[in-house]
């Protein structure tokens, strides 16, 4: 197994994990629609709709 590289984790991976929360701009060093593409969920997926339908009304409206 490749040994854990803390510098790689801190300087390369951690910024990418943080950038995943920001839908307004591509991760630093990447260009939107050229080297960075949004991963978009499909809430219309039948499995998701079925799960949401099973939730109690309170849970469904919870913010």
């Amino acid at each position: 197994m490749i040994p854990f590289d803390g510098q790689f984790a801190e300087n390369i991976v951690l910024p990418l994990a943080q950038a995943a929360y920001d839908s307004t701009q591509a991760p630093q060093g990447y260009t939107l629609n050229q080297t960075a593409f949004e991963i978009l969920a499909n809430p219309a997926h039948p499995a998701v709709q079925a799960h949401l339908a099973r939730l109690a009304p309170l849970q469904r409206t919870k913010r």
Binding site: D5, A9, L14, A36, F37, V48, L52
Partner: protein, 241 residues
């Protein structure tokens, strides 16, 4: 739990240019963006980065332990149903991006925080099933337990590089509890951001993991980190005093 993943985050969602994808949105207020798929051309590496939920209290309140068979690769184990449903909601788009852009790449870095970390093993085995020549490198942050023993064994057999970075004060990596038969995959790297009673403080990347990772690196100099494997072997054969 699932609902909290689709709630709108603080940052406004940028409109996508892909009209076909936009029409899939049943709820106009739902947050469809689950992260980024990137091409690291200089290093010939693909990157998948998943976000977690910004509503951690709601997520913890709604947490359940319901298991389900791993759907993308039938017969390969049992996983948390809620995590899998979130993954299934992003799977079509992820596979489409993979099919469109992965040509010529052999390594993929998959990362994510919190619930995004839980999506990492689910996506890794799915992408491996699509392309068995892929070399995945998985780094997760504050990842909860995702699967039962059968899934974890399958994962560990097929994924050589998987590190789970865990803040020692964070409660999320302890969920679902092992009494519910959920286990962790990969190897854990424990960091210490400093004690706090605040659950969110300990869990959030900026307060729980950025300082904790910096402290870890301060305590583990680069040369030791990078050559730890070699040093261990050398020590075994008596070449290191």
């Amino acid at each position: 739990m699932l609902q909290s993943m689709f709630d709108q985050p603080k940052q406004p969602q940028r409109a996508t240019s892909d009209a076909a994808v936009r029409t899939l949105a049943a709820d106009p207020n739902a947050n469809l963006n689950f992260g980024w798929f990137c091409l690291d051309k200089p290093n010939q590496r693909l990157i998948v980065a998943f976000r977690g939920t910004e509503f951690i209290h709601d997520w913890l309140d709604d947490f359940d332990f319901v298991p389900a068979p791993y759907a993308p690769v039938p017969g390969r184990g049992t996983v948390h149903e809620g995590f899998q449903l979130v993954y299934l909601a992003v799977r079509d788009n992820l596979i489409a991006l993979w099919n469109k852009y992965s040509g010529g790449y052999s390594e993929i870095l998959i990362t994510g925080h919190s619930l995004g970390g839980a999506l990492c093993p689910l996506a890794t085995l799915d992408l491996l099933n699509v392309n068995q020549n892929l070399s995945p490198v998985v780094y997760t942050w504050a990842e909860p337990r995702v699967g039962h023993d059968d899934f974890v064994t399958f994962f560990n057999t097929h994924v050589n590089v998987c590190y789970r970075i865990v803040n020692v004060w964070d409660v999320v990596p302890h969920l679902p509890p092992d009494i519910a038969q959920y286990e962790h995959e990969g190897s854990q790297v424990t960091i210490d951001s400093g004690f706090s009673l605040d659950v969110v403080h300990n869990h959030v990347l900026g307060t729980g993991y950025v300082p904790g990772m910096a402290m870890w690196n301060k305590d583990h100099p680069l040369e030791v980190t990078r050559h730890f494997g070699t040093m261990a072997v050398a020590a075994l054969v008596g070449q290191v005093r």
